[in-house]
Amino acid sequence: MGGIAGIVTVAVALSLFLAYLRREMAPIGAQVALAFVIVALVALLDPLRQVIDAFWELAHGAQVRPAYVSLVLKAVGVAYLTSIGAELARDAGEEAIGAVVELAGKVAILLLALPVVAAILDVLVRLLPG
């Protein structure tokens, strides 16, 4: 909980300060905002690691095949990375670059999910009579 309080405090202080810095020195204001985003996300990564470890434990207990769990986690990871990248690009005022980053994430996830789709189709074909 201490980490969350720190993040919120720094966020409030920075947003007051950035009102000044963006007027005087706009590019470095954007960079300060970017630095805050990265530091906050790194601070959030440790709880996230615990959640994912718990998820692995649950999947292991339910005897889900590890390949599928790993696939889901990879898709979540790709979505996390690309949404952060897209938001950072949008924050710097580049709407088009953000859209391309999101598109790249969608393609990557589609590529990850392709073997599963193929497996489902395989099962369906085997289930169909004849």
């Binding site: 005087e24 020195m25 530091v39 790709v78 996390y80």
Partner: protein, 66 residues
């Protein structure tokens, strides 16, 4: 990575803004521009390292290479 990085970058921003005001008051607009460009690039190099470290962390948390 620590919160102090944010304050350091903000400090660089303040110093460059102040020097910028001095230089442009002294009639050296060209040098003021160069100074702000240099500041932006220095902070950018710093940030790119932070982003690379962060993306590596994300990869290890989500086990993207397994």
């Amino acid at each position: 990575m620590d919160v102090t990085v944010i304050y350091q970058i903000a400090g660089i921003g303040i110093i460059i803004a102040i020097l910028n005001i001095f230089l442009s008051q002294a009639g050296r607009g060209e040098q003021a521009q160069m100074l702000s460009l240099a500041g932006v690039i220095i902070v950018l190099v710093w940030l790119i390292r932070m982003i690379a470290a962060f993306f590596n962390d994300v990869e290890s948390v989500f086990r993207l290479w397994q």
